[in-house]
Symmetry: D2
Subunit: 431 residues, 4 copies
Amino acid sequence: MLDFEAALARAEARVGIIPPADAENIGQFCRSDLFDKHLLSASSASSGNVAIPMVQQLTELIRTGAPGSEGYVHWGATSQDVIDTGLVLQLREMTYITEEALHNVCDTLADLCRRYATTPIVGRTWLQHAVPITFGLKIAASLDAMLRHQERLAELKARVLVLQFGGAAGTLASLGARGKEVASALAEELKLGLPSMSWHAHRDRIVEIACFYSLLMGTVGKIARDLSLLMQTEVGEVSEPHSEGGGGSSTMPHKRNPVAVASILGAAIRVPGLLSTMLVAAMSQEHERGLGGWQAEWSTLPELCTTSEDALETLAEVLEGLIVDADSLQSNLEKTGGLILAEAVSMVLAEKIGKHEAHALIRQVTQRASSESTNFRVALLNESAIQKHFSVDEIDKLLNPAHYLGSSATMIRGVLDAYESRSIQYAKDGK
Amino acid sequence: MLDFEAALARAEARVGIIPPADAENIGQFCRSDLFDKHLLSASSASSGNVAIPMVQQLTELIRTGAPGSEGYVHWGATSQDVIDTGLVLQLREMTYITEEALHNVCDTLADLCRRYATTPIVGRTWLQHAVPITFGLKIAASLDAMLRHQERLAELKARVLVLQFGGAAGTLASLGARGKEVASALAEELKLGLPSMSWHAHRDRIVEIACFYSLLMGTVGKIARDLSLLMQTEVGEVSEPHSEGGGGSSTMPHKRNPVAVASILGAAIRVPGLLSTMLVAAMSQEHERGLGGWQAEWSTLPELCTTSEDALETLAEVLEGLIVDADSLQSNLEKTGGLILAEAVSMVLAEKIGKHEAHALIRQVTQRASSESTNFRVALLNESAIQKHFSVDEIDKLLNPAHYLGSSATMIRGVLDAYESRSIQYAKDGK
Amino acid sequence: MLDFEAALARAEARVGIIPPADAENIGQFCRSDLFDKHLLSASSASSGNVAIPMVQQLTELIRTGAPGSEGYVHWGATSQDVIDTGLVLQLREMTYITEEALHNVCDTLADLCRRYATTPIVGRTWLQHAVPITFGLKIAASLDAMLRHQERLAELKARVLVLQFGGAAGTLASLGARGKEVASALAEELKLGLPSMSWHAHRDRIVEIACFYSLLMGTVGKIARDLSLLMQTEVGEVSEPHSEGGGGSSTMPHKRNPVAVASILGAAIRVPGLLSTMLVAAMSQEHERGLGGWQAEWSTLPELCTTSEDALETLAEVLEGLIVDADSLQSNLEKTGGLILAEAVSMVLAEKIGKHEAHALIRQVTQRASSESTNFRVALLNESAIQKHFSVDEIDKLLNPAHYLGSSATMIRGVLDAYESRSIQYAKDGK
Amino acid sequence: MLDFEAALARAEARVGIIPPADAENIGQFCRSDLFDKHLLSASSASSGNVAIPMVQQLTELIRTGAPGSEGYVHWGATSQDVIDTGLVLQLREMTYITEEALHNVCDTLADLCRRYATTPIVGRTWLQHAVPITFGLKIAASLDAMLRHQERLAELKARVLVLQFGGAAGTLASLGARGKEVASALAEELKLGLPSMSWHAHRDRIVEIACFYSLLMGTVGKIARDLSLLMQTEVGEVSEPHSEGGGGSSTMPHKRNPVAVASILGAAIRVPGLLSTMLVAAMSQEHERGLGGWQAEWSTLPELCTTSEDALETLAEVLEGLIVDADSLQSNLEKTGGLILAEAVSMVLAEKIGKHEAHALIRQVTQRASSESTNFRVALLNESAIQKHFSVDEIDKLLNPAHYLGSSATMIRGVLDAYESRSIQYAKDGK
């Protein structure tokens, strides 16, 4: 907010509305260390917002330190101009942090993707074993989503990172005919976009960035949820990096709880409610500046953004140190005695006897295997229709998960290609 | 949480599980001023919750101050036992505060109700003038809702204010066969209800109180919303009590913004999203104790409860100092030139010419009044069907808002009767 | 709504406002089969609600069938009176259905509770094995929650199942001084509670029942979520009752997807958002009757209630036919080679060497077992501190899940006692 | 979904996986009129989704009508492939409809903007009169927001309108090594984007479009809310276009309720809850395909999208026929006796006596005007400091709203410029 006040004074000096010397004086007192935050906080309640006591303190500081210049403080602006622009400046910082975190998490995901590109893992649908996939493919799906988030963030910045400046009711009448001129200079000073007009009560920009963080957190939460399921005692395919004393139980000596994943999930769960609040609060503000909705944003948006950012960084750490238990990956693939390759057998058999006949026959075999508590492979080899068309060797080849990975490699390659070209572009952009 | 640890030690001493002297020693160190809160906070992240570092600090304090007793700290309990019971103890305090605030707000509403029982005010539906009501009746509807909230709060306390005590996974196995005995003694020590079993992952009790505060805030927000509409410049029927410097604008000298009402509305807007988070977070916790959902409660429930309580208290202040502009009440009733009594005329005319004919005829008159920019009374007196059945005097009587208030007085009396009997009961209950 | 119109006519006849013969005529046409629903639906949009075209059709029917009586239709009522009271009558039916469904689900849970009261199962916290519990205890926690829901439903009925009757703006002015008299007779006719005044824009009653269904669905969803986790291929402890062709995959012959559980979860996920909509929509209605909020209720509340009711019934079916795989229960208990009893060993060791020393020592043993890929029992027996204090037999006894169930039986008994006394009461109440 | 099945067969024929003649036969039966929808609906519950019975019916149709080809139906695809791609095809239609509706609403807003560019209206903040603006500027803010929505919609299409095709668990293993080749041909057939891999359980694309509609509805709701406030009896600045019989009350002859605006608000209120459901449901789907979350999307997304679209079209109608009462605009500006220009006087006075002195002095004058129930102009002219610096003429000029509109015209021009360049581009794009 102080950056706004200083820039406003400079901009108004540039266009000749206030004297340059006064602008300079104002700028010298726009330092947060000079302010009494306790008083700011206390006065905000009765004032209705934090800008009024902030401007009062700034005025007092200048009245004492550079008497005569205090009359030019906050010239022509309204409280919401400084609060909203201050928010936008903070959101800009936030986007830098998020861009870097996204960059890191993409790098880590790409590493995992390459490392496990050909490592078979159980593909699970409806929380049931489906067909084999590779762990790299599972990771690639997350990387692919993160690339979309990078794209979204890049797109919304032009819309969101813009100046708020309209004066009392959006006309900048307090600056006579020179409002737009000041606005333009002010946007330049702050290196923010210059909108056609102020957007005090049209807050789709603010909610758009809330949507972005919510979507991002959706992906972060989905990854954490999958990890939590893979970490179950019965699955045991991955675990969190160990930290000394982390995740212990106060009573159970053997426990090593996935505390990082729990904290990510705890964050992800809170986001949809916060976003719905942002929508209700921000989008229905009355007339030129509303009543209540804006106030409701103040605690909601920062909570949504920082919660998301924290969770994204925690996820990055979990992924970087992720412990993958190769034995469990393998033993889980074998857990159903080959059932996980029922589709593989069915597709090949379909070429011999037709799709529906094959599907029905293999379904019978799977049910027999289940009811007789026997192995799918054994039940299969006992089936005359199978014996007729396939040798034992052929069946064993079909039952090898590594032979039924379809286009996994091509897909991973596609995602990595997209990542690599994106990544280079990011490096070139700088900030 | 320290109250829980002290009471647990006492309870276990009572049933003979730990030595009484050790229980006493433990109790002496269960004082929050002895604890390093910064360390607590810092350790909570890696531990996954605040109970583990709290128990560690307590243990260290006792190891130093009463060596030998530290081994009995937190005996048989799990982290969630102490955190949840600590929460319940806080919620109990909260309910006391809310009972008092509700009591006060009901008193104020009852006063307003009596004071304005017969004062006509525009009844508004669809944000349009409908028929006259009394300001007392408008208030009575709010009082009636508050009485229901008092009733709800009284009912839920038996369900919500109960002990949490189950040990690692709810069996209290760490206490052998004596778990229930300890639980019973512990509930007595803390004066909490004793549930049949622990409820670590069945959190309907917690969400029930969140529902209560959400409903309460719904009413608080509705009252604030109506006040905000009555405070509009064009309506001007009520205003907030003035506070020195409150509600001023940084640029517009004439502004006196309804800052208290705005803060109530800002709070009310946030509640539905917080409640939806509570539902998602608390109700879907996995198995015996979940992953992530519990964590999401930690910031959400306190925010929901304290936001609601603050807003309720702000509302009480606004209502106590509410400035009612009698002139505006009257001039708004007259604003439509009698249209607000179109139903009154129509109902009486219906007895002469039938309901639908009367409705249609009066509708025509209202439209004529509108299109000819004339007064409804004048248009009515010019209508032959009216002339046939009514004298000018009769019409003027019909057009007096005070004559068309129906059962307002009886209804207000009914609400006040309910309030008075309830109120006495509350006073008798004490706490 | 037609029940309302018929009862209104009877009530007004009883108190002498309309002639009894006309009331009887009106009653004869209040039959939904006489109405053109297509026209009703089409006219609702332009009218703004369904009551206006309904009253129009009813009037036309009577004008034709019993000319002269049509003038007394809907006498003194407003659209919201008939729509809201119609809603309350439907909610009353809904509560009957829900009471029965709750009754059934409690019976089924009680049966499961008794059947599996002593059957050990893995207790899981943080999605990790914690300590053994019994399957009966897991069920008892759900039964306990359902008993609370029964209690809540019983409590809210007096508040929610009440008449709505206020006329244009709540004063019943259209009935002169006799509004309350009609209201009283009308409530009697409909066997609904009689509130002190109308509650057109104070809709906490409506949202209270939405909260009830949301809480109930929270429990239903939690049970379904646990079942879905127990049904995972790697866990395999329970499965849905088989239905012919149900849960098959279009491509994978071996798949038997938990479709009933998925549909319950799909329903549970939708509820928090619907409840937040109800709160926003219903609680902030302006003045005497609002604009938009009421409209938003119309699709939201029925969806919330019927979705919940359907899911509750689906859950009842799943629980009734639940297939429990005793072998998996047992083999999962053994999966960690005894680690699940680490607390049991630690608690007993604590009595010999102190709590913290015991916890630390057993933690070391568990880590050694893990790092050396050996069995916890073996690692334990190799530990000198253990050898010093315990015989092999004692250790084996400690490692038996059936010996570490704590107060499970007492807790189950407590829940069943509550169920049994409640259940009898329900039977006595009848409806 | 049938478009998907037909295109899949063609694509597989193109790459040589199934015979072209069979593909043609399949295509001939992919006509929705051949299907028994009642059976589809009934079978969906037990199957768990609608694709399985749809594929069954299609297979039966072909078995009868083109025997031999039925074995190639749905070859290699999974249920979610066809359901999701079917959804994307519907969403594409939806975006066309929305683009057109947005186009229309922008045209109408631009017309209003030009027509009322210089018409003064009260600018309102905190629901209080602030300073004058123009009605055109108020409209321009809405147009500006709609232009952003057009931009967002254009951006998201490339991400959202893409093929879903992954087979059982995303690997397309059922198509051997040729999965990507088929995917590519299939995307071409359907004119959809081709993603790097399937996105069965990474549903940010779906939630992104839900976010878009929610943001759009936020703006629609904000406009409707402002209109509803301007339509209040006491404000009376605008009204809905009259429709015969629309908006009447069942009891109050004079009522003309804003039914269209109420229906828009009723829709807008439901959206935040629906979006929060979409986030919870869609973003947390487990592993390769989830359990419950996908099911929860099925009713939620269509409701969100169609509700939004309907409301947008209703808004377009309201705006097209909007009745603006010029007299009310003017009389409301005069309602405060000039107070609305307090800032104007203060800013000019500031140049003479300093900003804070001016603000304080004018605040005193406004308070005196209020407490003495006199006119601001009169109070101002009685003030010696004013008399000293200004003539009566100068004061009267300052108190003319038309002289205190600041940069309104420039801002409107800016928005219209953006609209015009955008609009041309849209026309050029065609579809």
